[in-house]
């Protein structure tokens, strides 16, 4: 067994180490889920079949987004950026394992830990209090794949932001820009089906849609057969494109970095 499964395992352990802290975060996710659900219900009372969703779909969507905040890390950030700032990256680059693969394994571990501790409470509370569309068994399997791809896309975007540190020496500006994009174009603030006309069409082709909107639609069972394959392929294509760009950026960064001292 290679080293990456261990990196994954330790990532999971590290991010599951503070269950009380995770529980408090999950509580806040649940509270926000309630407030956003009420807002969506009010809209769907006026427009009962907006964007092909009914009120139950909209409410379920809302609690899925809250459950995914942790695993998909919608607010951005990665420990790697700080390691580039303080120079620890030199140690990472010395390891006989690819930088991007190492951090992908670590991030998938983080996502798994977060999924275990933070995704349950909002979904459970939403299902108990509101009309809720539980996924069919075959959708659960598809959702698992979609979620894995969503985390990978999220990682690839955040990895590129961290790589920007090599040239900009500060990730706050890039973080701020990508935060706006990921909050707005993922479906986090409002489902993308609410976006009118061209804005909606554009939003649904951007990589951020692969992080929340597509997995949520898979959960809701809005894709069948070929459509489902198409949706997962959309996510996979973005993941491959962004990871490829990340690999190129890593190669460029290796040439850019000068390690002093001896």
């Amino acid at each position: 067994m290679g080293v990456l499964p261990w990196v994954w395992w330790y990532g999971l352990r590290r991010h599951a180490a503070y269950p009380l802290g995770s529980a408090t975060e999950a509580l806040t996710n649940t509270v926000f889920g309630f407030m956003r659900a009420y807002v969506l219900i009010a809209l769907w009372q006026v427009r009962p079949s907006l964007g092909g969703y009914d009120a139950t779909d909209a409410v379920t969507f809302c609690f899925i987004t809250q459950a995914l905040i942790g695993p998909v890390q919608i607010f951005g950030g990665m420990d790697l950026a700080e390691r580039i700032r303080n120079g620890d990256i030199a140690i990472d680059l010395h390891r006989p394992a690819g930088l991007q693969g190492w951090w992908l394994a670590d991030d998938l571990g983080r996502a798994a830990g977060s999924l275990l501790l933070r995704a349950g409470p909002p979904l459970l509370a939403g299902a108990l209090v509101f009309p809720f569309r539980a996924p069919a068994p075959e959708n659960v399997a598809a959702f698992a794949v979609a979620l894995l791809l969503a985390v990978t896309v999220s990682f690839a975007l955040r990895y590129l932001v961290a790589m920007g540190m090599f040239w900009l020496r500060d990730d706050r500006g890039l973080n701020a820009v990508t935060l706006v994009m990921s909050l707005f174009f993922s479906g986090m603030i409002l489902p993308l089906v609410v976006f009118p006309g061209t804005l909606g069409t554009v939003a649904r082709t951007l990589p951020w849609a692969a992080m929340i909107q597509v997995p949520a639609d898979v959960f809701l069972g809005r894709y069948d057969g070929v459509e489902l394959v198409g949706a997962l392929a959309f996510q996979a294509a973005w993941a491959a494109l962004l990871l490829g760009t990340g690999a190129l950026a890593t190669r460029a960064a290796r040439r850019k970095l000068v390690v002093h001292g001896g």
Partner: protein
Amino acid sequence: MIDAGRMYGLLVWTWVRAAAQYPVSMVLLALATAVVTGLDAAAIVLLFSQAPRIAGFGSSEVLFLYGTSALSFGISDILFGTTERLGYHVRQGTLDAMLVRPVSPLIQIATEEFSPRRFGKLVPAAAALAFALARVEVAWTPGRVAMIPVMVLSGAAIFGALWVLTAAVQFVIVDIHGASKSLTYGGGFLTQYPMTMFARDFVRGVTFVVPLAFVNWQPALYVLDRPDPLGLPGAARFASPLVAAALCGAAALAWRAGLRHYRSTGS
């Protein structure tokens, strides 16, 4: 009190000068903060692009609620937002260093890393409020005009008290920060929307338990001349300053109690 204000200003100025060492970064971050805060307004505009009225309210009325709420929350966040880091300081032991300095630890935490970028939060709030005030259909009387600054300042005081109250809880439960965000940031989100959207018991909770309804909802009922869905007496619409004062008193007591309760980590 005057001394505390002077000390607050002095520490703020120190941090601002530090932030100004990177002027481009400072301006860009202020812009970014403004855009992130403005996303909530964009959401409201998107909602109303799909329906002219939601829960009995039109877009300019909801933007009025958004403007007053975001302005109050922004002011309180600028003044007290960093108090949410108290748990971090307790865990790191840096609170002990604050306690030996001759300035109130509350002022030290509240001014920590004060950055002009935070003023970016006020830009979309003020713009939305100006837009909404120009558009909203209200028979303006002197009382209604005067209510606008009163509700913004009372709201800021209520949110400020919530920042300090939830920080004080971190003296007792260090890890509670994740949950207290549902009161602070959650309150900031909730008050952007009319309470007619929420379930009645929920509205009772945010009126009588955590008095978020007094941030802008009750005063807005007076300004917009709307009936109260809970049927509270008319005086409730003017109660915001009193509620704010009471909550600030409670926050001050809680902070003192928490500080006395604090016993460092030992060795």
